[in-house]
């Protein structure tokens, strides 16, 4: 499979997502992707510049993204973050996206689109 | 202090409890001539996932919701249960101990076992949950029994008013009298049971009294005396003989050492574990011997196990420090 660089605009299209944070940088390039609900795992394995798919809605998801230099976060179906989480995303400049799909479906779609895994 | 070999209460119960004490007795069953459609109703109404199949009184198979689903898929819902049932049945006997059921659950990975009697007739059904529930009930019953017996024992001593009450049992032990070996200790054991001591303590008293008694039979040339003095909290067993005496005390105390002559060993005694076993079972043991005069052994066992077990707790080793290290 050919490895492609996908930008945020395309990602939002693929996962049928909506932006939760303001003024997203749509042509931000994403080079890899990881899916996890455990932030200890994200901190220890995810590559900088990757996209995080998670079901953990907590300000700590955004804090972890900041620490691990995660480019953006997609919250999976049914996991709508509160205003505190979105506020933190805006403050730290980390784009937050909500998708109507579950984690399984999103992984499948992005993988098919050619996004490589974000394992260190 | 030596570690006392001891089963946990649960392990003990798993071995002691018969399956019939924990199984479900009112079993819902089905006839082999019933249709799969009727079976579906039975499962639905009773909210169960499988039933044994009985022809008259005889167990002929078992049928589950999986069999029903297969029948549904194949459009075979009018078929009799006989056609679709499984005849391979995993059974246990009602008077076997629970541990046998635990083994079968592990071996066959089934959700339920059929309980039968010696004649192969169905007596009940058993799930993992039944075992847990049965153990819970038994453990609280056991706890009660323990409390009641303690009360009883105390009560006897309270009825008799004195500054210090004790009950003294004396037994004469003849040298080389292997036929009656152990009879004194079995009487001590029975007395303790009557007084309501805890089973675990009784076992320890029985083991050490038995070994002390056997020592008198094997080694004391003129026999000796066994004295058990019981007080509300403690039992003191003294074994006295008049010779020959123990030449090397350290050697006598080491496991496996024996001075018993061969013919005694051939009877199965004198393996050199006597003193070691006493040490293991007793809370304290004192041995005094003078060559040519005789030997006196004193064994002390506390009747309330917590007095002893406190010293066996192995917690909290480490360094004392702040909660912000």
């Amino acid at each position: 499979m050919e490895i492609e660089i996908v930008n945020l605009r395309e990602i939002v299209g693929i996962v049928r997502g909506t932006f939760l944070t303001k003024q997203p940088q749509l042509d931000l390039e994403i080079s890899s992707c990881g899916a996890s609900d455990l932030m200890s795992d994200v901190l220890s394995f995810m590559k900088p510049g990757s996209l995080l798919l998670t079901g953990l809605v907590h300000p700590q998801s955004v804090r972890t993204a900041e620490m691990a230099d995660i480019a953006a976060i997609v919250f999976v179906r049914g996991k709508t973050p509160g205003s505190e989480v979105i506020g933190l995303g805006n403050e730290l400049g980390i784009p937050l996206i909500a998708s109507p799909y579950g984690m399984y479906e999103i992984c499948g779609r992005l993988y098919k689109a050619g996004l490589p895994p974000a394992m260190k | 202090m030596a570690q006392v070999i001891k089963f946990t209460k649960i392990q003990e119960l798993i071995y002691e409890l018969p399956i019939e004490r924990v199984m479900k007795k009112d079993v819902i069953k089905v006839s082999p001539d019933a249709s799969m459609k009727e079976l579906k109703e039975i499962l639905r109404i009773n909210r169960i996932s499988g039933v044994p199949v009985l022809e008259e009184e005889r167990l002929v198979g078992i049928i589950s919701i999986e069999d029903l689903i297969k029948a549904l898929v194949e459009g075979d819902i009018q078929a009799p249960v006989r056609k679709r049932m499984t005849t391979r049945m995993i059974t246990v006997l009602e008077n076997e101990s629970v541990v046998e059921a635990v083994k079968k659950f592990a071996q066959y990975k089934v959700g339920r076992l059929l309980v039968v009697n010696e004649q192969g007739l169905l007596r009940g059904i058993l799930t993992g949950g039944d075992i847990t529930r049965g153990l819970l009930e038994a453990i609280s019953l056991d706890y009660h029994a323990e409390e009641i017996s303690r009360y009883r024992a105390k009560h006897i001593f309270e009825d008799i008013v004195s500054d210090q009450t004790s009950l003294i049992l004396r037994y004469k032990v003849k040298a080389r009298d292997f036929k009656r070996g152990g009879s004194a200790s079995s009487k001590v054991k029975r007395a303790l049971d009557r007084l309501g001591a805890v089973p675990e303590v009784i076992r320890r008293v029985a083991i050490s009294t038995y070994e002390a008694e056997m020592n008198l039979i094997i080694h004391a040339e003129g026999g000796g005396e066994l004295i058990a003095e019981m007080q509300p909290d403690v039992i003191r067993i003294t074994a006295i003989d008049h010779g020959p005496g123990i030449p090397d005390m350290d050697q006598a105390m080491s496991p496996g050492f024996s001075t018993a002559p061969n013919w005694i060993r051939e009877l199965g005694f004198g393996a050199g574990m006597g003193l070691t076993n006493i040490k293991k079972s007793a809370d304290s043991m004192k041995l005094e011997s003078t060559m040519g005069v005789g030997t006196q052994m004193e064994i002390v066992i506390y009747l309330r196990p917590e007095v002893r077990e406190e010293s066996n707790l192995n917690h909290g080793s480490g360094v004392e420090g702040s909660c912000r290290p």
Binding site: S40 | T132, R133, L136, E306, H315, G316, C323, P325
Partner: protein, 250 residues
């Protein structure tokens, strides 16, 4: 007058499906006595149905029971919630029950028993208790505090159901009262791995699912066995303090 309280604030009863059947009130009290404990917390998963029986069983034994539960937050993090009175704990229970998904246990997670002070079976709880409630971490801390209780994130050094594993670190905003670590936690190693822990008072509890697992490593110096006093001890104020017997490496 200040006096020492040897404590284990995280003990399960047979109400927790994963607990052994020996975890009944009289046996827990007997074991606590043997270990020299004078303060214990009863913390079953998302429920306190066995707490009253425990309190009754403790009467006259010199052991004080703190009513509580081990709550599982939305983030799947375990939090000890402890109160002074059973009434407070029951109020909290109402809140928790509303937020627990209505699943039935079917004993896949082990049977959950409600028992009396003697440990006799009263009923089997059919609702699955060991699941995430729909309550966020901070929300739990806020609510429990407002009801006069305290919150201690449980076994933070464990690889599952813990603050450090699920959230990666202790959130700055977390207003928990102290942190619990497992009896295997060795300070010199743990502090290196999670430097953040230096800002916290840490206590060791057993998270006991069987009698042998109850611990006697944490000692409070308090005027009375109350939430307010324990909180002073966590902060090291007014002469109240916490000392812990830490395991040594190797």
């Amino acid at each position: 007058m200040l006096r020492p309280f040897l404590a284990d604030l995280h003990i399960h009863t047979v109400l927790s499906g994963c607990a052994e059947v020996e975890m009944i009130p009289p046996l827990i009290i007997r074991q606590a006595k043997r270990l020299g404990l004078s303060l214990i917390g009863i913390t079953d998963h998302n429920a306190c149905h066995d707490v009253e029986a425990m309190i009754q069983a403790s009467e006259g034994t010199g052991i004080h029971v703190l009513p509580g539960m081990e709550l599982q937050s939305r983030e799947e993090v375990h939090l000890l919630c402890l109160f002074d009175t059973f009434l407070q704990c029951q109020q909290w229970q109402e809140e928790v029950s509303k937020n627990l998904p209505p699943l039935s246990n079917k004993e896949a997670f082990g049977a959950q028993f409600v028992v009396n002070p003697l440990g006799e079976w009263i009923r089997t709880e059919e609702r699955l208790l060991a699941m995430s409630t729909n309550m966020g971490l901070e929300e739990v801390v806020r609510e429990v505090h407002s009801m006069g209780g305290m919150v201690i994130p449980a076994h933070v050094d464990r690889p599952s159901f813990s603050l450090l594993s699920n959230l990666g670190m202790v959130p700055d905003s977390l207003e928990a009262d102290a942190l619990e670590v497992t009896p295997r936690f060795i300070p010199s190693i743990g502090m290196q791995r999670w430097p953040q822990l230096k800002d916290w008072c840490m206590i060791v509890n057993g998270d006991a699912h069987r009698l042998q697992e109850i611990q006697n490593r944490t000692q409070f110096t308090l005027a009375a066995a109350e939430v307010r006093e324990i909180n002073l001890a966590f902060k090291g104020e007014a002469g109240r303090k916490v000392t812990v017997k830490w395991p040594v490496p190797g």
